[in-house]
Every structure is written in structure tokens, then in C-alpha cells.
């Protein structure tokens, strides 16, 4: 394991600026997507669905505070064969994600664009600007296959695979700064690419995503409710 000594100028003029650039580009992306994305109009039916799912879960968790008759009456209301809400909801026609729908398609396109394009553009620029030297070393050993990917522009055959170029440092930063965005921008930020699923657990009318199939969620809750044994805990 060779121990290279890097020029401290790399630290000052490459390492830190890449971090700063990534961070600010992320914040910029968040604000631009706020401007471009229109507010999701949630259907009332989807709100009701979300609420019923939440209620089924609450019934399972806190049902032990209710006497047996009340609990069974509520379980009956939700799970009964023909008349229960969950059973009826499972029989609704499935509405999967519909690529033919123009409004949904533009939403998807916009989302993908917002995420992919800046990443590619800035990654390419960094690769072009900061090329020809290694920037940092990853602390774990890598195989030779990674050399081609991580050491663009540095064609040394005997160089250890752990030394990576600036482009790979950029990508590392981008994925690593995700949690910092949560700290800085609050939990609802568009710079965080992993927030594709809406949070179903919030109280105030959060709805089931119409693109995800709600029937699977209903079926899950129905089965869970059927299985539960009521024990009056007080």
C-alpha cells in the first residue's frame, strides 16, 4: 500500500470546493423544483383512504384500551365481508400508474429531469476541470476493476485502486450530503432523491399516492386486523 503525499493545494482548491459546490447545487435544485412543481391536488377519496388505513393501524395498536364489544364492532365495520370498508376498497378497480395519462407523464418527466440533468452536467464539468490528478483516498481497499471507473484521467497502471479522482469524490459528496439537506432544509426537500414514497403516517389528511396501488395496502391491513387477538389491557 503506497502512501502518497498529496499536495496540500489539492485539499484547499479541489477537495473543499467540490463539497461546497455540491452543497449549493443541491440547495439550488431544491428551490428550483419548488418553483417548477405545482402543488399536488389530492382527491378527497384518496384522503379518506389514507385516513382509513391509519385508523386500521391505530385500532390494531390501541385497541387494547377498548372493551371487547367495542373492538369487535369496529373490526366488523372495517373488515366485514360485503359491507366493511376495507373489503369494499379491495374490490375497487385497480388504478395502476398510467403512462398514457399526459399530466402524470409530465410530472414524472419533470421529476426525472430535475434529478438527472444537474447531476450529469455538474459531474462532467468537474471531471473536465479537475482532471489529471487524484483527489483523495477511500479508506477501504478496492479491486482493480474499480480503477477504470474511479480514476478517470489518471492512467497509472500501478496506482492503488483506492486513490480516486475528483469526479468520484463529487458523486460521493452528492449522496453523502443528503442527510445534511434534511438538517438544513427541513424534512420536505426536493434535493433528497429518495423521498419518492409519500409518508402515509401523518395525521392531517395525507393521502395514498394514486400511482401506487392502494389495494395492496388495504389487503395488508385487512389481514392484520383479522389476525389480531383482542386483549383488554386494563
Amino acid at each position: 500500500m503506497t502512501d502518497l503525499l498529496l499536495d496540500p493545494a489539492i485539499r484547499t482548491w479541489v477537495f473543499l470546493p467540490i463539497v461546497v459546490i455540491t452543497f449549493f447545487i443541491g440547495i439550488l435544485r431544491h428551490y428550483v423544483s419548488l418553483l417548477l412543481m405545482n402543488k399536488k391536488k389530492v382527491e378527497l377519496e384518496n384522503i379518506a383512504d389514507g385516513q382509513y388505513l391509519l385508523r386500521a393501524r391505530l385500532l390494531r395498536e390501541n385497541g387494547r384500551f377498548l372493551p371487547k364489544t367495542s373492538f369487535n364492532a369496529r373490526r366488523q365495520y372495517l373488515c366485514a365481508e360485503e359491507t366493511g370498508y376495507l373489503s369494499r376498497a379491495q374490490q375497487r378497480p385497480a388504478k395502476g400508474p398510467n403512462p398514457m395519462d399526459p399530466s402524470q407523464m409530465t410530472e414524472m418527466l419533470k421529476g426525472n429531469m430535475m434529478n438527472m440533468i444537474p447531476m450529469i452536467v455538474v459531474g462532467g464539468w468537474i471531471n473536465w476541470t479537475f482532471s489529471g490528478f487524484v483527489t483523495t483516498r477511500v479508506p477501504f481497499p478496492l479491486t482493480l476493476k474499480f480503477k477504470a471507473m474511479l480514476q478517470r484521467g489518471v492512467d497509472l497502471v500501478s496506482l492503488d485502486s483506492a486513490w480516486v479522482s475528483s469526479a468520484s469524490w463529487y458523486f460521493l459528496c452528492m449522496f453523502g450530503l443528503r442527510s445534511i439537506y434534511t438538517l438544513v432544509l427541513g424534512s420536505e426537500n426536493a434535493a433528497d432523491q429518495s423521498k419518492a414514497m409519500e409518508d402515509q403516517m401523518s395525521m392531517t389528511g395525507s393521502a395514498v399516492n394514486p400511482q401506487a396501488d392502494p389495494r395492496a395496502a388495504f389487503k395488508g391491513e385487512w389481514e392484520a386486523l383479522q389476525m389480531i387477538q383482542h386483549q383488554f389491557a386494563l
Binding site: 389530492v42 378527497l44 384522503i47 379518506a48 385516513q51 382509513y52 391509519l54 385508523r55 391505530l58 385500532l59 395498536e61 390501541n62 385497541g63 384500551f65 377498548l66 372493551p67 367495542s70 395525521m203 392531517t204 389528511g205 383488554f232 386494563l234
Partner: protein, 294 residues
């Protein structure tokens, strides 16, 4: 009870009190108006971020204490700051409600509901209009419709249970409170109220349930005196009505326990803060003797 003179408090204290009341949803409207007029309104801009929330709070409080002039001032302030706001429109509709123009208020609420169907506060105000007009049954029906969509709103369930109690329909009120318990199982107030209702319903099962709920309320909130009384009364009732001897004994012991706890609590209170505490202590001692002898 110490009566604070709200006209003499400091600015900071007034601001903290208003904030506390705003977050807890307390209805002390005349005091809010006093604090505003004598303390805060001298320099409202130094409230900073809270300024508009405080103005809204004062507006509702002034409507509640029939101070139409102050309400109009607050609405004007808010309108100048937020000209196209739905929230300000809601306040204007509330002002119409307060001056008994119920039809116009209802029209505004319908329009707001159409514009923003996901915001549940406009639907709740529509129910409030019905309540103000005294149409309780219509209000019950309206809350039921509201609850079909927004299922997990403990405030609405609580209001519904109050309405059922006004109609003397205790089982339905119990059902509504149970919903509240499902949503917020760590709230001792719901348990206490449920226990009160179950005790009112009477019958052996209900009184046992009431006792269980009182115990739970006491566990969550050990300083709650009413649940202690509730335990005493329900145990007394069970001891009197049950045929099983061991049950009787256990209930009797639990009742005596409850009295001991109560006596401890009352002994710590000085007669100045609660002038009846001596009388209560004597009463409790007497009860202990009668229950202990059974």
C-alpha cells in the same frame, strides 16, 4: 385561585402567556383582550414572527367577548398584510357569525370549502354555524359527514360526544370518546371522561370498566384528583353490588386505599388555598369508617 391582574403584567410575561394559551387552545377570551389592550398593543411589531398569529388570536377572542370594534381593527390589520388570504376570509366569516348573519357566513364557508377541499377547518366552521343556531341534530349529522372523510380528528369526535351528551345519548357519546382514545391513547382526559360516562351508564360491567379506566387515567397522570375520587366511588359501588365475597373484599380494600391517597393529598394543602379542605378531610375519614366496617 390567584387572580392575576393582566393589565399589570410585563410585556414578556404577556407574550409568553398568550403563546401558551394559543398552543393549548384555551378559551380565556376576555383575558386575552385585556392583555392585548393594556400590554401588547403598545408595540405589536416587537412580537416579531408571532405578530400575526397573536393578532388572529386576539381577533377570535374579541369576537368571543363581543368586542366588535377590536375585531374589526384586527381584521383590517390582517387584511392589509395578507390581502388574498383564505385564513383572513375565514376570520371575516367568523365576524359575520358573531353578528348573527349566519346565511352570509355559510355562503363564505361553502365557497372556501370548494376552493380548498382538503382544509378541514372550513367544514368545522360550517358545523359551528349550525351549533350557534341551535340546530343540534343538523350539527350531529354534519359532523358525521365530516368524520366520514377526516376520520382521525380527535377534536371533532370530542365535539360529537359533547353533542350526544346534550341529547342524553350516553352510549353514542361513549363510542365517540373511544374513538378519541384510539387516536390519542396517552391522553388522561379522555380516559377520565370515558370513565365518567361508563359510571353514569351504570350496571356491573360498566362500573368495572369505569374503574379500569380511572386506574389507567391515574397511572398516566398521578396528580389527577378526580380519577382518585372515581376509583373510590366505583370501588364502593362494586363492593356494594357484587355477590362474590372476594371481589367485595378487594373492592373494599381498594376503596380504603383511595381514601388514604385522597387524605394524603388534602393534608398537604393548606386551608388558605382551599378553605374547604378541612371539611373534606372529615368527610373522607367518615367514609373510611363506613367502608371499612362493611
Amino acid at each position: 385561585m390567584v387572580e392575576t391582574d393582566w393589565t399589570q403584567v410585563s410585556y414578556d410575561e404577556g407574550r409568553q402567556t398568550l403563546k401558551k394559551w394559543r398552543e393549548c387552545g384555551v378559551r380565556r377570551s376576555e383575558e386575552v383582550v385585556e392583555i392585548w389592550e393594556h400590554v401588547i398593543s403598545r408595540s405589536p411589531s416587537s412580537l416579531g414572527d408571532e405578530e400575526w398569529a397573536v393578532v388572529e388570536q386576539v381577533c377570535i377572542a374579541s369576537l368571543d367577548s363581543a368586542r366588535v370594534d377590536l375585531a374589526q381593527e384586527c381584521i383590517d390589520l390582517l387584511h392589509n398584510q395578507f390581502p388574498h388570504s383564505n385564513r383572513v376570509l375565514k376570520l371575516k366569516a367568523m365576524q359575520l357569525e358573531a353578528t348573527e348573519h349566519y346565511q352570509k357566513a355559510l355562503e363564505i364557508y361553502e365557497r372556501l370549502v370548494e376552493e380548498d377541499p382538503n382544509n378541514n377547518s372550513y367544514r368545522k366552521r360550517k358545523v359551528a354555524v349550525l351549533l350557534a343556531q341551535g340546530k343540534r341534530l343538523d350539527a350531529i349529522r354534519a359532523i358525521n359527514d365530516y368524520l366520514k372523510i377526516f376520520l382521525n380528528d380527535p377534536e371533532a369526535w370530542l365535539q360529537l360526544s359533547e353533542l350526544f351528551l346534550l341529547e342524553n345519548d350516553v352510549p353514542k357519546a361513549v363510542h365517540c370518546l373511544e374513538e378519541c382514545v384510539l387516536i390519542q391513547p396517552l391522553n388522561s382526559m379522555y380516559f377520565r371522561r370515558l370513565a365518567d360516562l361508563r359510571y353514569t351508564q351504570g350496571g356491573a360491567d360498566n362500573v368495572e370498566l369505569a374503574r379500569a379506566y380511572y386506574e389507567r387515567a391515574l397511572k398516566i397522570n398521578p396528580t389527577d384528583l378526580r380519577s382518585q375520587y372515581g376509583i373510590l366511588l366505583s370501588n364502593n359501588q362494586i363492593a356494594a353490588s357484587t355477590k362474590n365475597a372476594t371481589e367485595k373484599k378487594r373492592a373494599g380494600l381498594a376503596a380504603v386505599d383511595a381514601i388514604d391517597n385522597l387524605v394524603n393529598r388534602y393534608q398537604k394543602i393548606s386551608p388558605k388555598s382551599n378553605p374547604e379542605s378541612d371539611g373534606i378531610l372529615n368527610c373522607l375519614e367518615a367514609m373510611k369508617v363506613t367502608i371499612g366496617s362493611k
